[in-house]
């Protein structure tokens, strides 16, 4: 096939992927709402088809341009979506109960591709000399995985905020009393014990109470679960994002002669890093745990969006590969 045909095929596949994700998401929504196993399985099947189209779109584009398929922000978004969906599918294979959360995962993926296809799309073309390096595999792949996991964790945090508010309104929790002897760090122990109690309470409540309402906020998993998911995805994504920035610095050192130069893209990846670092700190701070920390994580997603759409399209810098 000629490279023009391949590029056209890629453009078709990309929309097929968006379509599949958009179809699969409400199926998983059905599972979330009505605990319909059938809808959940169908949703996963459609999502796998969508992932195949997504990867096919990336592959054909790479072949059309004769290089790795992450040479510009449009392709980057495509890869982020593929990583997000792959990660969710792997997770589903190990823990079935996260399947309904695919509703949000797939919507995020579809949104990422569609927004990029509409605003950041460029014809398939070769790389500029600065990008032509082995580091494009290391730096950009790490950045893709980091973006995918960290933005996913922010989505979980946002859902946590909804679920937490819902639970708080439904049943104000009585203060927990934890007794016991005084030890050097009694506060820590009490807190750990109290933490269990809350988690268990929520788990039993969720297991016992059937989903009564049909509004989104009534269908969410328990807030504590979402908070835990958000933290664990951040714990996975943050070191990868850290590494992505470092690999970028090493590359910049060899391409531009400085490892850090406050280029707008560098500045925003640093801002994103600081915000997620603040989230991790907030989560370990009394008075910030819970809602405040979750808001910080949501702020991280905002930073990603700015880095993507604002910095790539409006701000001129060395990283201007979008146009």
């Amino acid at each position: 096939m000629s490279s023009a045909t391949l590029a056209d095929l890629s453009d078709t596949l990309v929309w097929l992927a968006v379509l599949s994700y958009v179809v699969a998401a409400p199926l998983l929504g059905l599972e979330l709402a009505y605990r319909s196993r059938w809808a959940g399985r169908a949703g996963v099947a459609v999502a796998i088809a969508g992932l195949a189209a997504n990867l096919g779109a990336a592959l054909t584009r790479g072949l059309a341009a004769g290089r790795v398929p992450w040479g510009n922000m449009y392709e980057y978004s495509m890869m982020v979506a593929a990583v997000v969906v792959t990660g969710w599918l792997v997770w589903v294979a190990r823990r079935r109960e996260v399947r309904p959360l695919g509703l949000f995962v797939l919507l995020l993926a579809a949104l990422a591709i569609a927004a990029a296809a509409l605003t950041l799309r460029v014809p398939a073309g070769p790389l500029v000399p600065a990008l032509n390096s082995g580091w494009i595999k290391v730096h950009v792949v790490a950045a893709i995985i980091g973006t995918a996991t960290l933005s996913l964790s922010s989505v979980f945090s946002a859902l946590y905020l909804v679920a937490e508010r819902n639970e708080r309104r439904a049943a104000p929790r009585p203060p927990l009393v934890a007794g016991g002897a005084r030890t050097a760090d009694r506060a820590e122990v009490d807190e750990a014990i109290a933490g269990y109690a809350v988690e268990e309470l929520e788990a039993t409540e969720a297991a016992e109470a059937p989903a009564t309402g049909r509004r989104l906020k009534d269908l969410l998993p328990p807030a504590a679960r979402l908070d835990d998911l958000a933290f664990r995805t951040t714990a996975f994504g943050f070191p990868i994002w850290t590494f992505a920035i470092m690999a970028g610095a090493i590359w910049a050192q060899s391409a531009w002669g400085r490892y850090w130069g406050w280029d707008p893209k560098e500045t925003w990846s640093f801002i994103t890093w600081v915000v997620y670092a603040a989230y991790l700190h907030a989560r370990a701070t009394a008075g910030w745990r819970g809602r405040s920390a979750a808001w910080v994580s949501v702020l991280g997603l905002v930073a990603f969006v700015v880095n993507f759409y604002v910095v790539n399209t409006w701000v001129v810098g060395l990283h201007s590969y979008a146009k």
């Binding site: 073309g125 070769p126 500029v128 000399p129 600065a130 032509n132 390096s133 009585p174 927990l176 009393v177 934890a178 007794g179 016991g180 005084r182 030890t183 050097a184 009694r186 122990v189 009490d190 750990a192 014990i193 933490g195 269990y196 109690a197 268990e200 309470l201 039993t204 835990d228 714990a235 943050f238 070191p239 850290t242 590494f243 470092m246 590359w251 050192q253 060899s254 391409a255 531009w256 002669g257 400085r258 490892y259 850090w260 130069g261 406050w262 500045t267 640093f270 801002i271 600081v274 670092a277 603040a278 991790l280 700190h281 907030a282 701070t285 910030w288 930073a303 910095v311 701000v315 001129v316």
Partner: protein
């Protein structure tokens, strides 16, 4: 910075106003608290945003000048606020210095408490075992001492730190790597910043342009731009000379650049060859600790201008490569020849096309286009006469046209190898060749090893600080009919679900070990949660739904 502020001591009601010392102590506690660190982190993120909103002088001074021209009202105000050099401004420095100070202030007590924790023994359980989420009771057919010993061996095998307490309680704890990793992460981050500052202070950065076949000594005068660190003296520039043997650039079929390559030779003071390398965009050369990068290029058409001097005899004030400024999009280059020694003064605007393509556009009007490859170089020269204002600061690539009148209404179009007469018999311009010049970035950054080491340690510390969890296990064996009743409790300060699983396996292992204890029969009955059903009291009632470790 996981230090939590100890509860601030408030003055007792009725006591006199707090002493200054107490106030300072309180302020210090507040300063090193996580709240302060969080606020400073947000301030740092917010402050950085400004650096991406406005053009920055250290990165693109031309764009700052343009911004100031475009915004005559707001520009100077923003300039005074440091918006065009955010990362070097006083307020940005204040934020990160405060963050670093808070970081150090928080790391010191944390290090102290980690050391104290490593020196002290794992503490006793702070509650009845049955109150812990992870709880198990085993029946052993051996005396309590032997049962405890079996559990001790299991825990030691799992690398728990152990301590025996009065009453036969065995306390075990592990997961100190979490705090150690977190401390390492923060110290490494400090190290990275120290390296950054050191490199900035003692390094330098600058650009040198060299024409093919020519040489440029590594001396301050040869730099087009030069940004030394605060502690870098020009005498510290190592003496060598760079010769550009050849420059080559290539394009993809769609006209975008694919490769720039500068063949460079570095020579020492006596002309001996130090290094010879093809420097491309991702492959710099290192000479005497200085890294040489290929960063840009341009064309230097070889131009010979012959004019009549004041005494009427022909002179050639310009004979050789003329440096021009290349437009990176069209690959059309612009330069200027200035002849202030003539009367009236003469200036020539010189435009070089790499591949001039002419055609017919709509309505029969001729169109001009340029092929970025060097296929049909053409020089277009437009002459001016009058006052060049050469005494004013101006670009070498352009003429100051304020005091100039055009020599003619049409430019001279000179093909490669051609020669054309200037209007009015002033002289001739010949286009005899095309050379390229390479813009090389030379940089020395002695902080790089520190920064790289700091970055590596940041990652090394980050992983355990996120994934290792601190957990405690307590074991107590009491005499019981037929042997001992062994009770275990476990507590994880983080990662509770994973610990529940670990605790289950641990209990199973202790159970097997009890079976193997000398003198004991093989069979061990396990009675999970053998404790009497706890009373459902408000609050405490929530602890009762617990996992049943190893339940049979």
């Amino acid at each position: 910075m996981a230090v939590q502020a100890p509860p601030t001591t408030r003055p007792e009601p009725g006591s006199p106003t707090p002493q200054l010392g107490e106030l300072l102590r309180q302020a210090w506690r507040e300063f090193r608290s996580m709240r302060t660190a969080l606020v400073l982190l947000f301030a740092l993120a917010a402050a950085s945003i400004f650096g991406s909103l406005f053009p920055q002088r250290p990165i693109s001074p031309q764009r700052v000048e343009q911004y100031l021209l475009d915004h005559p009202a707001a520009g100077p105000v923003l300039d005074r606020l440091g918006m065009f050099d955010v990362f070097g401004s006083a307020w940005y420095t204040a934020v990160y210095v405060a963050l670093l100070a808070a970081l150090v202030a928080c790391l010191l007590p944390r290090t102290r408490s980690l050391v104290r924790m490593l020196r002290s023994r794992p503490p006793r359980a702070s509650a009845r075992y049955a109150r812990y989420h992870n709880h198990a009771v085993l029946a052993a057919a051996v005396p309590p001492e032997q049962a405890t010993e079996a559990a001790r061996r299991v825990l030691a095998g799992r690398r728990y730190r152990l301590a025996g307490h009065p009453g036969g309680e065995l306390a075990a704890e592990k997961g100190y790597l979490r705090e150690a990793g977190s401390l390492l992460f923060h110290v490494a981050f400090l190290l990275l910043l120290v390296g950054l500052a050191y490199g900035k202070g003692f390094g330098y950065r600058g650009q040198i342009s060299v024409v093919e076949g020519e040489e440029a000594a590594n001396a301050r005068v040869n730099y087009d731009s030069f940004t030394p660190g605060r502690f870098f003296g020009p005498g510290q520039l190592p003496r060598f000379t760079l010769r550009l043997d050849d420059f080559a650039n290539a394009f993809h079929p769609d006209g975008t650049p694919s490769r720039y390559a500068a063949s460079l030779t570095a020579l020492d003071g006596s002309g001996r060859q130090l290094r010879r390398q093809t420097v491309t965009v991702n492959h710099p050369m290192t000479v005497d600790g200085i890294r040489v990068y290929q960063s840009d290029y341009g064309y230097a058409p070889v131009v010979r201008v012959t004019v009549k001097g004041r005494d009427g005899k022909p002179v050639t004030p310009q004979d050789g490569p003329l440096l021009t400024l290349r437009d990176p999009v069209t690959e059309v280059s612009n330069g200027a020849v200035k002849l202030p020694m003539l009367d009236p003064q003469i200036g020539l605007d010189v435009t070089m096309f790499t591949g001039l393509l002419t055609g017919d556009g709509p309505g029969g009007r001729p169109t001009l286009a340029n092929d970025p490859r060097l296929v049909n170089p053409v020089l277009v020269v437009f002459g001016w006469r009058g006052e060049l204002n050469a005494d004013r600061a101006q670009s070498v690539f352009t003429l100051d046209r304020s005091g100039l009148q055009p020599l003619a209404d049409r430019p001279l179009v000179i093909p490669f190898g051609g020669e054309r007469d200037l209007p009015g018999g002033l002289g001739t311009v010949a286009f005899t060749g095309v050379k390229q010049y390479s813009v090389l970035t030379l940089a020395r950054d002695p902080g790089v090893p520190l920064v790289a080491g700091g970055a590596a340690l940041v990652l090394v510390g980050l992983l355990p600080s996120l994934y290792v969890t601190r957990r405690r296990v307590w074991v107590r064996a009491e005499p019981a009919p037929g042997g001992a009743r062994v009770e275990l409790a476990g507590l994880a300060l983080q990662g509770k679900p994973a610990f529940a699983e670990e605790f289950r396996r641990l209990v199973a292992e202790v159970e097997r070990a009890l079976g193997r204890s000398p003198g004991g029969p093989a069979g061990v009955t396990l009675t999970a949660d053998a404790a009497p059903p706890p009373v459902r009291e408000p609050g405490a009632a929530r602890h009762e739904t617990r996992s049943r470790p190893g339940g049979t």
